[in-house]
C-alpha cells in the first residue's frame, strides 16, 4: 500500500473571523425549533482565562442515531439537519450551538458530539468528544461505563468529556491546559505512545 506523508497543521491564527464564521453557522436547527437544545460552554486557557479567539465545530448523529449525509451546512434551508456546526467564542470565551440531541449510532452506544477546537496560540487542531450525561434520553451510568473511551480514562479525566445538563440542553467547557484540562484525542495510533512530555 502506498502511503503519503501527511500535511502538517498550523494555527488558525487571530484573523479567521471574516472567513470561517458564516450566517447560521452555530444553528444546526433554528433556536426554538421542536426538539432544539442548546450546547454551550466556555473555552479557557492554562490560567483559567477565557479564550476569546477560539473556534469550535461539532459533528453529530441525529436523534435517531443516523449519521447525516445531507449537504447544506453552509447554506442552511432551515429544514435539513446536516449534523455540522461551527461557533466562534465571544469575549468571555463562550460558545453556543442550537442543535438536536444526538442518538446512539448503535444499540447501547453512548451518544456524543464530536468536537474540533481551534484557537490562536494553538498550533494544531484538537479533537475531543462531548458525551451526553446520564439522565439524557437513553443514557444511564451503565451506558457511559460501557463506552470504550470513557472506560479507558481515570474518573477525574473522564469527567472532562461528559457534558452537564442545564435544563435547556448541555454545558461543555473546554480547558486547553491545566489539572482539569479536557481530554483531547488521537485517532491514528500515535496518541497512546506519545508520552507525557
Amino acid at each position: 500500500m502506498t502511503s503519503a506523508a501527511p500535511t502538517p497543521g498550523q494555527t488558525v491564527g487571530p484573523f479567521f473571523h471574516y472567513a470561517l464564521p458564516y450566517a447560521g453557522d452555530r444553528d444546526l436547527v433554528p433556536p426554538g425549533a421542536p426538539g432544539a437544545i442548546r450546547l454551550h460552554g466556555r473555552v479557557t486557557d492554562g490560567a483559567g482565562a477565557p479564550v476569546p479567539d477560539a473556534l469550535l465545530e461539532i459533528w453529530q448523529a441525529d436523534p435517531s442515531g443516523a449519521v447525516p449525509r445531507a449537504e447544506g451546512s453552509l447554506r442552511r434551508d432551515g429544514f435539513t439537519f446536516t449534523g455540522f456546526g461551527r461557533a466562534s467564542t465571544d469575549r468571555r470565551g463562550a460558545y453556543s450551538f442550537s442543535t438536536l440531541t444526538p442518538g446512539p449510532t448503535r444499540p447501547g452506544a453512548a451518544p456524543f458530539f464530536a468536537v474540533t477546537v481551534f484557537a490562536r496560540g494553538q498550533l494544531d487542531r484538537l479533537l475531543t468528544r462531548a458525551y451526553l450525561p446520564a439522565g439524557s434520553p437513553g443514557v444511564d451510568e451503565q451506558t457511559l461505563d460501557a463506552d470504550r473511551l470513557l472506560a479507558s480514562l481515570p474518573a477525574e479525566r473522564r469527567s472532562t468529556l461528559v457534558a452537564t445538563a442545564d435544563g435547556r440542553g448541555y454545558v461543555f467547557d473546554v480547558r486547553l491546559q491545566g489539572d482539569d484540562e479536557t481530554v483531547f484525542l488521537a485517532f491514528d495510533g500515535r496518541g497512546a505512545s506519545a508520552g507525557g512530555d
Partner: protein
C-alpha cells in the same frame, strides 16, 4: 510589549531544532505535526495541552465527514479577485493542487476554505492594526469544493508578509490559511501554505513549530509555470494530504507531543 529580540527567539528555536536532530539520530521517531508545546510561539504557552493526546478508536460518526455540495458553495467563491467590483492590487495568482488521503486517494467534493492578507500584508479583520493599506477590492476569503479527482483551484492575490507581536521585529512569512475536510471527521485540518524561498522561514516560530524539516517543507507550494497563465496570473501548485484513522501507521508517523 515584549522586548525579546529576534536573536533571543532564534536561539530558542535553534536549541529545539538541535535537540530534535539529536533525538532522531538517537532513534526517536520523526515528527509529522507541529508541536503543540512550542514556547517560541508565545501564545502557545497557556494554550497547549499538557497531557498527551489520548488514543481513541473512531466511532461511527467520526468515520464520516460532513457533506458539502453545490448548495453550499458558489463556484465564483473560488475567485477572490472578483468579489468587490474592481481589480485588487498585487500579484494575481492561481493556487491549485490535489487533496489526497493517506493512501493517495483523492478527497472528492469536499470543502476547501481559504483566507489571507492582501498584497500589503493587511487583513480586513478589525483587529489587524498593521498600518498597511486595506484594499477595497479584496477581502481575502474564498471557498471551493474539490472536484472528482480531488483538485481545488483558487484565483487570488499573493499576500504580503506582515509584522506581529510575538517578539520585537517579528514578521510572518507570506502565507495562505487553508481549512480542509476529508472523508472522515478525524481528518479535519487547518493549516497554512507558504511560498518557496521565503527569507522569513528560519525566523518564524509558527512555521518552525514543525520541527522536522521535511514535514515543514510540505507546507511550501511550488511555483508551477504550467499553472501560470499568459498575461494574467502566476501559478502555484500545492498538494495536501489528510490523514485520519484508516491509514496504515508507520513507525515514522509516531510522534511525541
Amino acid at each position: 510589549m515584549t522586548t525579546e529580540t529576534q536573536a533571543d527567539l532564534s536561539a530558542e528555536m535553534a536549541t529545539i531544532a538541535q535537540d530534535y536532530t539529536a533525538s532522531v539520530a538517537a532513534g526517536a521517531p520523526v515528527e509529522t505535526r507541529p508541536r503543540l508545546d512550542y514556547p517560541p510561539y508565545r501564545s502557545s504557552i497557556l494554550r497547549h495541552p499538557t497531557k498527551s493526546l489520548h488514543h481513541a478508536d473512531p466511532e461511527e460518526v467520526e468515520l464520516w465527514a460532513p457533506a458539502f455540495g453545490p448548495t453550499d458553495v458558489d463556484p465564483l467563491e473560488a475567485d477572490l479577485t472578483i468579489q468587490h467590483g474592481g481589480e485588487p492590487i498585487g500579484e494575481r495568482m492561481v493556487v491549485t493542487g490535489r487533496v489526497l488521503d493517506g493512501e493517495g486517494r483523492p478527497v472528492r467534493h469536499q470543502l476547501v476554505e481559504l483566507w489571507q492578507a492582501n498584497a500589503a500584508g493587511r487583513y480586513v479583520h478589525k483587529r489587524d492594526q498593521h498600518p498597511a493599506p486595506v484594499d477595497p477590492h479584496f477581502t481575502g476569503a474564498g471557498r471551493c469544493l474539490t472536484d472528482g479527482d480531488g483538485w481545488y483551484r483558487f484565483t487570488t492575490i499573493k499576500p504580503g508578509p506582515y509584522p506581529w507581536r510575538n517578539h520585537r521585529n517579528a514578521w510572518r512569512p507570506a502565507h495562505l490559511h487553508f481549512s480542509l475536510f476529508g472523508t472522515e471527521f478525524t481528518q479535519r485540518l487547518v493549516t497554512q501554505m507558504y511560498f518557496p524561498g521565503d527569507p522569513l522561514f528560519d525566523l518564524d516560530p509558527i512555521y518552525q513549530s514543525i520541527v522536522d524539516p521535511a514535514a515543514r517543507d510540505r507546507l511550501v507550494a511550488t511555483y508551477d509555470h504550467t499553472v501560470t497563465t499568459h498575461e494574467w496570473a502566476t501559478g502555484y501548485r500545492w498538494d495536501i494530504v489528510l490523514t485520519g484513522s484508516h491509514r496504515t501507521v508507520r513507525e515514522s508517523d509516531v510522534e511525541h507531543l
